[in-house]
Symmetry: C2
Subunit: 235 residues, 2 copies
């Protein structure tokens, strides 16, 4: 039987062996929600990079560049970190380079040894579930968190995946069990449940209510972003 486990922050990734595993990276507010939205709206590819410098280099090579730090757009780049910015006709077929505080770093950390790296969000939850079920591999959900810390929204997404797969997968360690129970507690009112979370407080200070509500919607898009080499494409 396959197993599913949850890594609550990239700072705990050293505890997991991921050789025979599909890693699903999630950063609900807002990196992976942007990626899913972009690919659903026809973006050609998204190249996640760990640093602002790498992002700038790709911008020089003609990529559309998106750089976020501390939830704000870095000066001189083309796109901010709102999923609504990715619903743009001008981006259809475009190659985007992206760096964010937490999400893209997690992707670059995961890609070293996993069988495959997928990008998940509530927006494509069902599509991820269906793809995982069709594969013979174990699953690790890697929550991007916030600067190494655990956060609520990524944990809830991890819990939603565990909940959806619990009948066909062995649940790994307690973090997976805790995430699943948190999701079961929260699922009928995700927005209310995250209302006091640190990241929502951080984003609300920036006035991004609309993004928060949007990123908590389930199954809007039937896309499965997968890392091919260094670039995310729709599977």
């Amino acid at each position: 039987m396959k197993s599913i486990d949850v890594c609550l922050t990239p700072d705990l990734l050293h505890l997991h062996t991921i050789d025979n595993t599909i890693v699903v990276v999630t950063d609900i507010f807002r990196a992976t929600s942007c990626m899913v939205t972009g690919l659903a709206y026809g973006v050609g590819s998204i190249t996640p990079v760990a640093t602002v410098e790498e992002c700038f280099e790709l911008q020089q090579k003609g990529y559309i560049a998106a750089a976020e730090r501390n939830a704000m757009k870095v000066e001189g780049f083309d796109l901010d970190n709102s999923p609504f910015s990715y619903m743009d006709e001008d981006l259809v077929g475009a190659n985007i380079a992206m760096t964010t505080t937490n999400g893209t770093l997690s992707i670059t950390k995961a890609k070293t040894s996993a069988v495959k790296v997928l990008v998940g969000a509530f927006l494509n939850l069902g599509a991820i579930v269906n793809h995982l079920k069709s594969q013979p591999y174990d699953v690790l959900v890697l929550c991007a968190g916030w600067k190494g810390r655990v956060n609520l929204e990524d944990t809830l997404f991890a819990g939603a995946l565990v909940d959806a797969l619990k009948d066909e997968y062995i649940i790994g360690e307690d973090s997976a069990l805790m995430a699943m129970r948190a999701y079961q507690q929260a699922q009928n009112d995700l927005l209310g449940y995250v209302a006091n979370s640190s990241h929502v407080r951080r984003l609300q200070r920036l006035g991004i209510h609309k993004d928060i509500a949007y990123c908590l919607q389930r199954d809007l898009y039937d896309v499965v972003p997968v890392l091919r080499g260094s670039t995310l494409v729709n599977m």
Copy 2:
């Protein structure tokens, strides 16, 4: 206003500054439950050490020595890691040296910079709460976890502390919020809630049902174990 935060495993302790903070270390199954029980039953002192070698050295100097690895007593030592072993008249006034897989390492990690290190368990929950309220410092609950991983029972204890202090303290990051909500979900049936946890499965294989039920009881003892130098004593 004072704040309370939760560190879900010692592998995340680097994310916290603890200079102005009382750290409450917890390792419910079973190190800190043993310590609380021992001090409640009249043990003179307990010296937590990180390694089996250090524990052996103190045994040579006349300490009663307790060494546990992977939930079992290490050959050649005097005491195992069951709280019932600490309810012994022969231990009244004794100096005990103790090393365990997770709990004692967390204590030695915390003592470098905290204002004060306390040892908490469900058994002395109310006593810890009362002491913390009387102090002017922030609080960090440090969960010992299992070899770096997050576990359910320590998280629940952390959540119980956050829940008890939430009206007088600012709740820190999302890990504190998650722990509190897990405790609120679990509080009426702690034993049922942890039944599927990894550590309970581990302990049940070893046939230690009685210990599990015992360690989940609240407020049996009015003791506050505090680290003085390298040694835990009843405050």
